[in-house]
Amino acid sequence: MIQKKICMVGVYGTGKTCLVQQFVQSIFSVKYLSTVGVKIDRKEVKIGNLDVTLMLWDLEGRDGTHDVNASYVRGAHGVIYVADGTRPDTAQQLIEIRELVEKSVGRIPSVVALNKIDLTEEWKLAAADEAGAGGSDLHRLRTSAKSGEGVEETFEWVARAAVASSGGDQ
């Protein structure tokens, strides 16, 4: 079985844990609990003919007192950068966060999840913010951890890219 380590990174409160919970357990948590350290979940997916185990590393979010811990990203095969569509600064900070991540692991398959698309009234990301989140070269998807919209696609995209880039090596 091929294993791929996928890291969820971003500012605190953007919904990283909820996205993983929706993808792995199909539930949405209404209670906000900030992640301390890293929470690790596992999900098996099929990519073409390959059975792949995704090890999902949900990293504590960047806040006023501490940054993303680059040592958690070491050995990752893919990254999901998460921004909250109701807080434009969370999308703007992805450029810096990405620099930090890439210092540790170099360029690896990455995708941006513009989360909380269900909050249509509160959505504050302008088209330019969306296009530039994390860098214009990254693939991006709108997601809702609450409704599940875009969640499966986001994880599948990064899993496919991780498998393609390493040719099936672990």
Partner: protein
């Protein structure tokens, strides 16, 4: 900078229960080589092979009355002790694949205990013996966590104490999915029922990790402590400059002073900066 680890564990049956179904374990794991003969001086050999490679900290709270609960928590802790003895080979290898292997082995150990408890109870009457289990494997600076049930792990950094684990109870689940408010959960009797336990009908271990910094502290405890000592009080005790033993004894006293309605197990760990 290196660190010295100061740790202390204590358990008490409390003031109400007749027996103690809580267990704890503190292990210092060393890679050792037995030097039979050597021309090297005693000084040259001293401490060469004796440095601690890791530490294992475990608390477990047996579920169900009588010897069944005791057996479950003791069995789980003993299985992890066996694991610690075999795990030395996993150290000093921090590729992502090796780390995942380490997690798998830890999880597998917990699943093994779970399956054994279930199998031993097959055909017998009443609920199967079960236990909570919260364990931290510390290979400085990384602390690997495996958690099942409602015992807890906390981390202290500076003057901030944060809970690393979430209680796996029915009440917590209902709050999470939005079916109950915190107040409703506090009132409801089945709130404290475990939604996941080693040996129970459901077992869903949560795994995680955290990189510690010199000066950080850890607390592992069973719910016998948290029923009587608030998170604020825990934070106050943990942020003081006392030894791990003094903090552990003080927290136990507070739980007993608050009623001691359940068995109590506490492990306090302090990392002391060493230049």
């Amino acid at each position: 900078m290196t660190v010295a680890i100061d740790s202390f564990g204590i358990t008490d049956k409390g003031k109400v229960r007749e027996n103690n179904q809580d267990n704890f374990l503190i292990v210092e794991i060393r890679k050792s080589i037995d030097v039979q003969h050597s021309s090297l001086s005693a000084d040259a050999l001293k401490n060469r092979f004796g440095a601690a490679q890791g530490h294992l900290f475990v608390v477990a709270d047996g579920v169900g009355g009588g010897p069944a609960g005791e057996m479950a928590s003791e069995g789980a802790v003993a299985a992890l002790l066996k694991y610690a003895g075999e795990a030395v080979g996993c150290f000093n290898s921090f590729s992502a694949a090796k780390e995942h292997e380490l997690f798998e082995t830890l999880e597998q150990t917990v699943r093994g205990v779970h399956e054994k408890l279930r199998a031993d109870h097959e055909g017998k009457r009443g609920p199967a013996p079960a236990t909570t289990l919260t364990m931290l494997l510390l290979i400085w600076p990384r602390a690997y966590l495996v958690h099942v049930g409602d015992s807890r792990a906390y981390v202290r950094r500076g003057d901030r104490v944060q809970q690393l684990t979430r209680d796996q109870t029915f009440g917590e689940y209902m709050i999470t999915i939005g079916a109950w408010t915190e107040e409703a959960a506090a009132r409801a009797k089945p709130s404290a029922t475990l939604s996941s336990a080693v040996g129970g009908t459901e077992m869903a271990p949560v795994v995680g990790l955290i990189d510690l910094e010199p000066g950080d502290g850890l607390l592992l405890c069973t719910d016998g402590l948290t029923k009587h000592v608030t998170n604020d009080r825990i934070a106050e005790a943990m942020t003081g400059s006392e030894s791990a033993e003094a903090i552990g004894r003080r927290l136990l006293e507070e739980a007993l002073g608050g009623g001691g309605t359940d068995n109590i197990a506490v492990i306090v760990v302090k990392s002391l900066p060493k230049s």
